[in-house]
């Protein structure tokens, strides 16, 4: 028990990742491999690629989930011991990409398994994947936020309409 506590204190945030391809074109896969090279060196954050989902903490999903691979992806998600994280890497895994409404594709990893982090890009830069991992580890703040831009003229129009209503009413 004390050994377990010691291990939890010594390795609080080292993510062991299992990389899966759910119908991607290999672009995102190559970028994921790129992150693990000495040039980007994800291992300094404790990120390590493992060969079995039973050893993994994080599932890296690349590709829109095709009908063929959907059931295997569900079983893969169940095979990862919890607590677990799922990273959707690339536009395909985030929202389906250009195949979002194709007949043989379910359209994004979040249609099959719950996704915790979305890393869009086609393919995402290795830096973008590292940034996603850094956000997950709490090393970097989240930058993306929903935007609503509106022509100022619309506000002018609405206020003038309201004023006209007040005048007539």
């Amino acid at each position: 028990m004390s050994l377990k506590n010691l291990c939890q204190k010594a390795f609080p945030r080292s993510l062991w990742v299992y990389h899966t391809n759910t119908g991607s074109c290999n672009g995102c896969d190559i970028e994921v491999i790129n992150v693990l090279t000495p040039y980007y060196d994800a291992e300094r954050f404790g990120i390590k690629l493992v060969g079995s989902p039973r050893h993994a903490d994080v599932l890296l999903v690349a590709g829109p989930v095709t009908r063929q691979v959907a059931d295997a992806t569900r079983r893969l998600y169940e095979a990862v011991p919890s607590p677990k994280l799922v990273f959707a890497i690339g536009s395909c895994a985030c929202g389906g990409g250009i195949w979002f409404d194709t007949y043989n594709v379910l359209g994004g990893a979040d249609k099959v398994i719950p996704v915790d982090f979305y890393i869009p890009g086609c393919p995402p830069r290795p830096e973008a994947i590292l940034y996603g991992a850094a956000v997950a580890l709490g090393l970097a703040p989240k930058k993306a936020e929903p935007e609503l831009s509106r022509q100022e003229f619309l506000d002018i129009l609405e206020s003038s309409k309201e004023a006209a209503e007040v005048k007539t009413g």
Binding site: I98, D116, Y118, P120, A128, V135, A144, F153, S159
Partner: protein, 154 residues
Amino acid sequence: MILSKLKEAWICIKAGRVTLPYPFAPAVPEEGFRGRITVDAEKCVGCGGCANVCTPRAIQVSDPSQEIRLLEFFLERCTYCARCEEVCPEKAVTCTKEFETATNDVQDLHLKVEVFMGTCQRCGRCFETSTELDKMMVTGFRNGKQPQAAEETA
């Protein structure tokens, strides 16, 4: 055996440190990098050309009312092809170099733009305003983007 290991060690030492300091130091993408798109609502005329050429159909155009056209950008499936930037007649859509768009909520990747549209006198549906003159002909519009101008007329 030992000699080959020493040779390998020498190569590693000679190469020095190659790891980029990325998450702790900013990484600026090279020229021509296509990142997250932004839309300038003031320049947009609502022609819908971007939605027409969008390969993943990430841009959806709808008319919630007679005078407003709503453009919704679902950037989670954007493939960063920049065809919307290429086709935009008013240069309202531009690619930034922003690549740090990782998020835990897919709503963060949605972008909405509301654009004023002129109304057709005959059919009542909206159409793209060809010039700024059309805007000026609407009651309450004075001198562009000054909200107090509307109050003066009212």
